[in-house]
Symmetry: C2
Subunit: 256 residues, 2 copies
DNA sequence: CATCTTGGTTAACACCATTCACGGTAAACG
DNA sequence: CGTTTACCGTGAATGGTGTTAACCAAGATG
């Protein structure tokens, strides 16, 4: 029944301006300007009310841009990871995490928009969009690859809090979980735990609620990362991965 | 030279309205309304421009309110802690952390204002205010009390990254450090590390970037807390403190 | 008493999101 | 092909925001 032959001219036009809205919005942010409907419209040579033909309200625009920023940032993370071989997911994860931190430090406004944007627990609309987060999928995937290689221990379903069990079986967070066997979903618990640790340091640093010298030295971030090597079965590779971490962090400092 | 005999009538008046501004502002927030100069002024029976006689701009008002909210929240944490004996700082820390989480979950807007409010690294004005944060002082003090009792290991100054060493010797973060001997300042490193872990979970939960069921179950928070018992020399008391944690968390659930 | 400082006012500017009534134009349909 | 309809933009208006400038009255000060 659903026939979608070819997008009609009008549909193409609509999608084009839709894309332009997102493009201009992100551009606006990276230019250091405020994100506002008026500013976006004005840059497109339109008036603000016209944008309401494309987004329901301001918040929707913000969410849209957040999604797009996340997608673009993930490309960065992937690029950083690809400095290392495909069969070395541990090194790739280290590089990706450093890239994540770098992004959070160089673009604090964008970081806050994507990762500190408050989401009401009842707001199912925005929850769904959050679930699609590209970076979340990428990081879970990296973690899964590490597990395939190193078989780090994870809790059995029965050992999990029943509510958490439901949560890992049918996750409402961004996670590429479809290809993980239900019995192995305890891996997602490890993901949440490690993610919350990484999130803590990086948010602390990005928002500046941290001694500037601690940020400069990256010591807190580094220590947190090292703490998580053992639980991910990477204890034997500590030396090698520390080198990877330090190399990536050094690249940061020289760039700044 | 500096003579301050008694505050003149005008000075008292000024301070009174100043206090009222802060009081009305926090009230506004807890009422669920937006914090705006106009709203504050209107509630005080004044006009917005008058407020500029007291605060330089909107951001300064926000910082002022953030400071005040933090102070009030700390009173909550202390009250929760006082359910346990003064000579049991470990139990008190657990209770305070749960209270911290509870506050972050019930008042996400206030939490974001205080703990996710971005602070530029060059903005020394706001940095100073941050350094005075009441909650930070309280938590460092609790941690120090635990150290006095349990003597958990901490890095020697020489083992610290030189930059971090400077940071713990002359901290730019909220920390009650004056009474800690310089050689013992490695304790502050433990503080930063444990704080960043706690901060990660709580921020994740408060902003909603987390599966709602994980929040409901408090499993992530609980696991993070338990992980930090060992490094704080509380490994032998795991059972007792787990009970404390669960009791406090249970009180949360019943209240909601 | 005259002067100056302080703390408030009103008016105005430049933004912001959002709604509504309208019009033109391009697609869709008979 | 002509007519209708749906879409996409407009301008105008509403009510909100922070912020500045000119002004003014009352209290403090010489």
């Amino acid at each position: 029944m659903p026939v979608l032959p070819q997008p009609t001219r009008r549909e193409r036009q609509r999608e084009a301006t839709y894309d332009e809205i997102v493009r201009v919005s992100t551009q606006l942010l990276t230019d250091g300007a405020e994100l506002s409907l008026r500013a976006v419209a004005s840059r497109m040579g339109m008036t603000a009310p016209a944008l309401y033909r494309y987004v329901a309200n301001y918040q929707e625009l913000v969410d849209l841009v957040a999604f797009e920023l996340d997608k673009a940032a993930t490309q960065d993370f992937m690029a950083a990871a690809e400095s290392y071989l495909e069969d070395d997911p541990a090194a790739r994860l280290c590089a990706a995490c450093v890239a994540f931190r770098r992004w959070a430090l160089t673009r604090p406004r964008e970081f806050a928009l994507v990762f500190a944007n408050p989401i009401g627990s009842e707001d199912s609309e925005r929850r769904e969009l959050l679930t699609l987060s590209t970076s979340g999928h990428y990081f879970t995937d990296l973690l899964y690859q590490i597990w395939e290689l190193y078989q780090f221990p994870y809790p059995a379903l029965d050992d999990l809090d029943p509510i958490v069990r439901d949560a890992v079986l049918d996750p409402l967070i961004p996670a590429k979980a479809d290809h993980i066997e239900p019995e192995d979903r305890g891996i997602l618990w490890i993901y949440m735990r490690s993610w919350s640790a990484l999130y803590g340091v990086v948010t602390l640093e990005s928002t500046g609620h941290c001694d500037p010298r601690v940020i400069e030295s990256a010591a807190l971030f580094r220590a947190t990362m090292l703490d998580w090597l053992e639980p991910l079965g990477l204890g034997a590779e500590t030396e090698r991965l520390t080198a990877v971490l330090d190399a990536e962090l050094a690249r940061d400092r020289s760039q700044r």
